[in-house]
């Protein structure tokens, strides 16, 4: 348990990157990107966690009660916004790409980029 959150975060990063490397569909690739991002959520929140502490909201508990770190939570909130914006942009790009090329398989898209003589 002492190291499990760190391991989970590293595992999510690895599996997300693995998915991106082997992806055969751009929408799937964006999904894998969100897994990579989830690893940063877990890592950040784990870095601010503390056993036997309350959430950093002193509504029903008096101020001064031991609480977990509010800073990392604020950072994760920002992170979520960043992820949402980037994902939205990527989806828009992918949508347009699909309209033009009729496919989202990276292997079928590549011929355009291949060398052309002449």
């Amino acid at each position: 348990m002492n190291a499990l959150p760190w391991a989970v975060s590293a595992g999510l990063l690895a599996i997300g990157l693995y998915g991106m490397v082997t992806s055969r569909h751009f929408v799937h690739l964006i999904g894998c990107l969100s897994v990579v991002q989830a690893s940063t959520y877990v890592l950040l929140l784990a870095a601010g966690f503390r056993w036997n502490a309350i959430a950093p909201i002193f509504y029903s508990f008096a101020p001064g009660t031991p609480a977990v770190d509010p800073v990392v939570q604020a950072l994760v909130l920002t992170d979520i916004v960043v992820g949402a914006t980037v994902t939205a942009l990527l989806l828009a790009l992918v949508l347009e790409l699909h309209k033009r090329r009729g496919t989202l398989d990276p292997d079928q898209l590549r011929p355009l980029n291949r060398d052309r003589k002449g």
Partner: protein
């Protein structure tokens, strides 16, 4: 919490290994819910709420709309065919 952490790892793996984009969306939504629960137990209710509204609802919805609009989850057309 241990259980949720392991579930989160499994959820991420399922998202990656679900190769069909449409099914992956549902995996993503489920994963978003797991993550939200995990954040709640990590004493981060603010983040959990944000993860529910974004990770489990808004983003999967966008994915679905995209997939529906372009019908890109069907068999891909050959790039040269038909145009």
């Amino acid at each position: 919490m241990t259980l949720l952490l392991l579930l989160a790892a499994a959820g991420g793996t399922v998202v990656v290994l679900t190769r069909s984009p449409r099914r992956q969306v549902f995996a993503m939504a489920a994963n978003g819910l797991i993550l939200a629960l995990l954040f709640e137990t990590l004493q981060a209710p603010d983040v959990a709420l944000a993860e529910i509204v974004v990770g489990a609802v808004a983003l999967p919805l966008m994915f679905l709309v995209i997939l529906a609009s372009a019908r890109m989850d069907r068999a891909p057309r050959r790039p040269d065919a038909g145009r």
